[in-house]
C-alpha cells in the first residue's frame, strides 16, 4: 500500500517529509543533527568507532555536535537551503539515550525554527519513559527500529542492552528491548504521533520473522513500515560484517516488501529509503554535509527570522508545484510494482532500467549511479515501477579497494531488466551486464528519460517483431 493512501490528516502530515513521502523526497531537504553520541544498546550491525567520509549509512557521522552547535548548524542549513523541511536526530547513538542533549536542541529549534518538522529515530529502549517529554517538543514523527518480536531472534541481533544501571545480555536483554519497543509504539500511537517502524532484513536471522513483525506493528497502528537491507561489510568492523553474515539481495528485499504489502492493513510499506548517514544534509540521495562543517557554520551569521520567512515561501511554491504535477500526471500516485516480472517477451511490457541522477534525463555513469529507475514500457507508454538504490556505502571505489562486489550487486539489482540506459559505462560492467542478458545502452546519454525510453522501446520492438513504433503516452519520471 502506498503512503499517500493514508487518511487525509496523515497524508497532509507526511506530505512534506522527505523520508516518508516518495513525492516529497525529491523536493524537500532534511538535516540529521549528530547530537546524540551515546547508545544504550549494541546491535550486531553497528560499529560507531568509524568515521569514513565516503561511507553513507546509519550510525556514521563526521563530528558529534553539542546542543548549541547543533542549533547553530540547523539554523545555518535552514538559511542556506530554503527547501529544508525536516530536522531529525538519529544518532550516531540513540537520541533517547541522550535526553538532555536532544531536548536542549529541540527546545531551541522550536523557538527559532518553528516551521521545521522535528523527528527522532530510536531503538525504543528508553521510549516509554520519554514519550511524554517528546510530545512537548512538537515531535510529529518518531521512527522505531524493530527487528524482531521473538527474544531468541533478538539475542542473535543484540548482544547487550544497558538497563536499570546494568548491562544485560542475551535473551533477557532482547526480551526487555522488545517489550519496551512495543509499549513505546502503542504509547506514541495513543498520543497521535505518527510512528514509522524500521526493520533491518538480516538473512537467516529475521527474514521470515519480519512478516510477523509487520503484522504486529500494523495492528499497533504504525503508519509506515520500512524494511531495509542489512549493511554488513568486513571493513565496517561490525559483528555481522566480520563474521560473514550475508546481506540480502535486492530480490530478497523486494520479495519480503511485496509479501508485507500484500498482507493489506493500514500500514504502508516504504521502499525509497536510502539509509542515510546520521549527519546527512540536503535532499535524500544527496549529502551536502561537507558544506556545513562546524568550522564553516561557526563563521556564518544567520538571520533566523528571515530564514523562516524564506522557507515558508519556498515550501508554498513547492507544494503548488507538487499539486499541479500530480493533477497533470498522477491521478493516482505512482505505486511500486508488487509483482515480479519475467523477462519481457513479445507483447509484454519491456522492463528498462535508467541510470539517472537528476531523475529527468539519462545523465548518470553506470558506475556512479546512486539508484536505478526501473520502468515498464509498453505500447501504452512508460510507467515508473520502482526506484532501486544501490552502492549505498561508498562514493569512491578507488579508495575502498575491490569494486567487484559492487558491480555484482549492481548487475543483480537489474536482473529482471532487459535494457539498461546510462550516460556512460565501462567495458567491464558492459560485459558483466551482457553476460546477465541485460543490454547496456549509452547512446541516449543526456536525453530526457521519456524520450529515451520510448525510442529504445521502439527499436526493440522493431527488432523483435518488425512492428511500428508505439504510440507513446506521456509520462513523467
Amino acid at each position: 500500500m502506498e503512503t499517500t493512501s493514508q487518511p487525509t490528516s496523515t497524508g497532509a502530515r507526511i506530505a512534506l517529509h522527505p523520508c516518508y513521502s516518495e513525492q516529497a523526497h525529491r523536493h524537500f531537504a532534511r538535516l540529521h543533527l549528530a547530537v546524540a553520541p551515546s547508545c544504550n544498546i549494541q546491535c550486531h550491525y553497528c560499529n560507531r568507532k568509524y568515521d569514513c567520509s565516503n561511507e553513507s549509512r546509519p550510525g556514521v557521522v563526521s563530528e558529534v555536535l553539542n546542543p548549541e552547535q547543533a542549533v547553530q548548524k540547523a539554523l545555518a542549513v535552514g538559511a542556506a537551503i530554503p527547501h529544508l523541511a525536516v530536522v531529525g536526530v538519529a544518532g550516531p547513538g540513540d537520541p533517547l539515550a541522550n535526553p538532555e542533549r536532544l531536548f536542549a536542541t529541540f527546545r531551541a529549534l522550536a523557538a527559532k525554527a518553528p516551521d521545521l518538522t522535528l523527528c527522532v529515530s530510536t531503538n525504543g529502549l528508553a521510549l516509554p519513559e520519554q514519550v511524554d517529554e517528546l510530545v512537548k517538543y512538537r515531535i510529529g514523527h518518531v521512527t522505531i527500529t524493530i527487528n524482531c518480536l521473538d527474544p531468541d531472534i533478538g539475542a542473535r541481533i543484540y548482544p547487550w542492552i544497558f538497563w536499570n544501571h546494568r548491562r544485560i545480555r542475551g535473551r533477557k536483554a532482547a526480551e526487555i528491548l522488545i517489550a519496551q519497543q512495543q509499549q513505546g509504539l502503542a504509547m506514541l500511537v495513543e498520543r497521535g504521533i505518527l510512528v514509522k517502524v524500521n526493520s533491518v532484513l538480516i538473512p537467516g536471522v529475521n527474514d521470515e520473522h519480519l512478516r510477523e513483525v509487520h503484522r504486529a506493528v500494523t495492528a499497533k497502528g504504525a503508519f509506515l513500515h520500512n524494511i531495509m537491507p542489512l549493511i554488513a561489510r568486513p571493513e565496517h568492523g561490525t559483528y555481522f560484517g566480520l563474521t560473514g553474515q550475508p546481506e540480502p539481495s535486492a530480490e530478497q528485499l523486494r520479495t519480503l516488501q511485496t509479501a508485507c504489502a500484500d498482507e493489506g492493513g493500514a500500514t504502508g510499506m516504504m521502499n525509497h529509503c536510502q539509509q542515510c548517514r546520521a549527519d546527512a544534509v540536503g535532499l535524500i540521495g544527496q549529502d551536502r554535509g561537507a558544506e556545513f562543517s562546524m568550522e564553516k557554520v561557526a563563521a556564518t551569521t544567520v538571520d533566523w527570522q528571515a530564514a523562516v520567512a524564506k522557507r515558508t515561501a519556498v515550501r508554498a511554491a513547492i507544494e503548488r508545484r507538487i499539486a499541479l504535477h500530480s493533477q497533470l500526471h498522477h491521478p493516482t500516485p505512482l505505486a511500486p510494482s508488487s509483482a515480479q516480472r519475467p523477462r519481457a517477451a513479445r507483447g509484454e511490457p519491456l522492463r528498462i532500467a535508467v541510470a539517472s541522477n537528476d531523475g529527468r534525463t539519462v545523465d548518470a555513469h553506470f558506475g556512479h549511479a546512486r539508484e536505478f529507475l526501473v520502468f515498464d514500457v509498453s505500447p501504452m507508454g512508460a510507467r515508473l515501477a520502482e526506484r532501486r538504490a544501490l552502492d549505498r556505502y561508498c562514493s569512491g571505489p578507488v579508495t575502498c579497494g575491490d569494486a567487484a562486489p559492487a558491480l555484482t550487486g549492481a548487475v543483480a539489482a537489474l536482473h529482471d531488466c532487459t535494457i539498461l540506459l546510462c550516460a556512460r559505462i565501462g567495458f567491464e560492467p558492459w560485459r558483466a551486464l551482457e553476460d546477465a542478458a541485460i543490454s547496456p545502452n549509452s547512446e541516449r546519454a543526456g536525453e530526457p528519460i521519456i524520450d529515451a525510453l520510448l525510442a529504445v522501446y521502439a527499436e526493440w520492438r522493431d527488432r523483435l517483431q518488425g512492428a511500428a513504433p508505439p504510440a507513446g503516452d506521456a509520462l513523467c519520471a
Binding site: 549494541q42 568507532k49 548482544p159 546494568r166 548491562r167 568492523g237
Partner: protein
C-alpha cells in the same frame, strides 16, 4: 581504587552522566576519570556504571590495568576479529 579510561575511548558520552561521583570529564583526546573521585561505584551500584555502558572493549581498565570489558566480551567476536582490541 580507581578506574581509568584509555586511548580506545571513542568519546561517546555514555559514561559521563552515569557516574555517581561525577568523576568523569570530557577531556581531550579522550574522556577521563579523576582517580581521586572514583569509587568504582562501590556503595552506589552493583556494577560500575562507566564499564556497564561503555561500548568499547578495553577502553576502561582497573587499577591493575586489566580491561573491565575484555576483548570479545561486548561484541561476541573472537579476539582475533575484534577491531577494538587489534587497533
Amino acid at each position: 581504587m580507581a578506574f581509568r579510561i584509555v586511548a580506545l575511548c571513542t568519546n561517546c558520552w555514555g559514561c559521563l552522566p552515569l557516574c555517581p561521583q561525577q568523576a568523569i570529564s570530557a577531556a581531550a583526546p579522550h574522556f577521563q576519570i579523576e582517580a581521586a573521585r572514583c569509587t568504582e561505584c562501590v556503595g552506589d551500584y552493583a556494577d560500575p556504571q562507566c564499564a556497564s555502558i561503555c561500548p568499547v572493549e578495553g577502553a576502561i581498565v582497573d587499577a591493575a590495568g586489566q580491561p573491565l570489558n575484555p576483548p570479545g566480551s561486548l561484541t561476541g567476536l573472537p579476539a582475533d576479529l575484534s577491531v577494538f582490541s587489534s587497533s
